[in-house]
């Protein structure tokens, strides 16, 4: 019996598009324990967001379809749940925070009414109870004079404050699991720092599990316990934060870490990963990273590498480790 709250097992999602088939998530497996913070890192188009949305069944089907694999939340398969059971899960057990608060929040309803909506629907609160709870939530996420902001619209808030409103909404029904999809990417670095501190304090305070999606390696280095690195629809490396940053085993992870400019040490040139991200409509055979990899061998062009435990609790999908 595993102690994972959430488990993805060999999840493979394909989109049938006019131009052809696109496999956005390919054999992705990982687990998240209670109270754990799991970081999913990767560049644009690597499949991070589709993976996260599939947990909430938010991937539109069609054109998407689950080719194989499953998503287990608290031991139950998410894709076998009825619509009513899904409603029970969304918001109350699992909540989500998105990258763009301006498009995730509704511009024509006041903040009080849209957060209150979740409370009235999910928890059956009256208007007055809901208002009281919204004020509580807004003050929890650090919005100054929350009672006076109930009747404000989203455009009256700054970017950082909108992200706080979204967090308040996500926390409204006491979820045990939070999925944050690039929650700080649209924010300035000083605002990012405050939102990261806020998310961390909420996680500690409510003992929630968190999946944190980002392309920013600096953010995962501080916000996460365990990290999964995605490249072209696969998780290529999975390990604790210390292992990923101090002992990366997959050439892609190594390449990523080498290519970021550092504040602490300087060199005239950076070490980029050569080439371009592969075209997902027409991916290379074998390991999808092989055209960009300095260690590519014949086997890399033919076989997709499987995840292997290269050190205790440290997994990498690379033929170098055979």
């Amino acid at each position: 019996m595993s102690d994972n709250v959430l488990e993805l097992d060999d999840l493979t999602i394909r989109f049938k598009l006019k131009r052809g088939d696109l496999t956005a998530v390919n054999g992705v497996s990982f687990g998240v324990k209670r109270g754990e913070t799991f970081g999913l890192v990767g560049e644009s188009g690597s499949g991070k967001t589709v993976t996260a949305r599939s947990i909430m069944r938010l991937v539109p089907m069609p054109p998407g379809e689950i080719l194989k694999g499953r998503v287990l939340f608290e031991g139950e398969s998410v894709y076998d749940k009825s619509d009513n059971e899904m409603r029970e899960m969304r918001g109350k057990k699992v909540a989500m925070v998105f990258q763009e608060p301006m498009s995730a929040l509704n511009p024509v309803f006041t903040v009080g009414s849209q957060i209150g909506d979740a409370l009235r629907t999910n928890l059956g609160m009256s208007k007055q109870e809901a208002d009281e709870r919204v004020v509580e939530l807004l003050s929890l996420v650090g919005i100054p004079s929350p009672a006076s902001r109930l009747d404000s619209y989203v455009h009256e808030f700054s970017g950082g404050m909108r992200q706080r409103v979204m967090l308040a909404m996500a926390l409204s029904c006491d979820p045990t699991f939070l999925i944050a999809d690039e929650p700080t990417t649209a924010l300035d670095v000083t605002i990012q720092a405050t939102i990261l501190e806020l998310i961390e304090s909420m996680i500690d305070r409510f003992g929630m599990s968190l999946i944190f999606i980002t392309h920013n390696l600096g953010v995962v280095a501080h916000a996460c316990d365990t990290i999964g690195v995605m490249y072209a629809s696969h998780i290529v490396e999975l390990a604790s934060k210390q292992e990923i940053f101090k002992n990366p085993q997959h050439p892609y992870t190594q390449g990523l870490l080498n290519s970021i400019p550092r504040l602490d040490h300087q060199s005239k040139y950076l070490t980029p990963i050569k080439g371009l991200v592969c075209n997902m409509m027409n991916p290379p055979t074998g390991c999808k990273f092989h055209p960009r990899c300095d260690h590519a061998m014949d086997v890399c062009r033919q076989e997709i590498p499987q995840m292997k435990e290269v050190a205790p609790g440290h997994f990498a999908a690379c033929h170098l480790h055979n």
């Binding site: 000083t190 720092a193 280095a221 934060k241 504040l263």
Partner: protein, 325 residues
């Protein structure tokens, strides 16, 4: 002594908000002070990094220097001449020497033109190619300089990835053999593995053609990597400027310090990002007198709220605008 290529003195852009609803109701014109009297210089061959958060006036500064937006006041001295006194045709000549690379290569390249057409346009405008064959030869040469090939010349922008498009935008800037390239967040839209390629390309081209860069970015680690000197902007003002090592290792202004502490570094052993400033970024609309940071600053007192600090040299080329330093 290296020549000063560009010097900006008291550069100011105030946008009058006379037609917005708040101004109309209040019955008076509000003023958005996007850039409010900034001074800096760039020596030939060096890279000045201009860093700050959204809305601080970085991009407006780039547009003021090239007169894509007309400054309200100040001087833009390029090779000793004030560009603000130039007429249209004189500006046209200057634009051969000063080129821009923008943030978003999806909107800065015309989707209906081939790369060949995009890259020949500057050559046509400035009469730099006499014949069709010379033009084609020059375009292919430009593509080679930015790591693209002849096979790319007849394609359209949508056939390229973000990083490749930014290479094309850089090639277009190089077409007129400029002396100064202003990059307005040229790597912000790119993934890290591609960003590193483009930053290296900027370095290579600088060496090869002795280019001078004004490099605008909000990412402090990018600024640290690419710059020789750095200027930090906050709400329309430069608050600190100096050599890159001084700014990053011995920051003096409370805002610079706060910015650096807020950057999450890709190393779990480093201290987590943290913000010492209170509240949110001040508004550039009718800002109160005094230091723009004073409402958020842990060091601020009454004097800071009344008198705006001047940007002063400490004697070593490290400039700070703060009463408390």
């Amino acid at each position: 002594m290296t020549e000063t290529l560009l010097e900006v003195r008291g550069l100011t852009k105030h946008f009058k908000l006379d037609n917005d609803i708040v101004s109309r109701i209040a019955g008076k014109t509000r003023t958005l002070k996007a850039v409010d009297g900034i001074d800096f210089f760039i020596k030939r061959g060096e890279t000045l990094g201009l860093v700050g958060e959204s809305g601080c006036g970085k991009s407006t500064t780039a547009r003021l220097i090239t007169r894509l937006v007309e400054p309200s006041e100040g001087e833009v001295m390029f090779k000793g001449e004030n560009l603000l006194n130039y007429n249209r045709s004189e500006m046209q000549e200057v634009r051969k020497a000063v080129q821009l690379v923008f943030q978003d290569p999806y909107s800065s390249l015309n989707p209906r033109k081939t790369i060949m057409q995009i890259l020949s346009r500057p050559l046509e405008v400035h009469n730099l190619a006499k014949s069709w064959s010379e033009k084609r030869r020059r375009v292919l040469e430009l593509l080679g300089l930015v790591g693209l090939g002849e096979e790319h010349a007849d394609r359209y922008p949508h056939e390229f990835s973000g990083g490749q498009r930014q290479r094309i935008a850089i090639a277009r800037a190089l077409a007129v053999s400029p002396e100064l390239i202003i990059g307005d967040e040229p790597v912000s839209a790119l993934d890290v593995s591609i960003q590193a390629q483009i930053l290296n390309l900027f370095r290579d081209l600088q060496e090869q053609f002795s280019l001078t860069y004004l490099f605008i970015a909000h990412d402090l680690s990018v600024i640290r990597h690419i710059s020789d000197r750095v200027a930090v902007m906050y709400v329309g003002k430069i608050v600190e400027a100096g050599d890159v090592a001084d700014i990053f290792e011995q920051p003096k202004h409370p805002y610079t310090k706060a910015l650096l502490e807020a950057v999450p570094e890709a190393d779990p052993d480093k201290p987590p990002p943290h913000l010492v400033l209170k509240g949110e970024v001040a508004t550039p609309i009718d800002p109160p007198p005094g230091c723009r940071l004073c409402a958020r600053c842990p060091l601020a007192d009454d004097y800071c709220a009344e008198v705006a600090p001047e940007l002063k040299d400490d004697g070593t080329g490290h400039y700070v605008a703060c009463h408390k330093v």
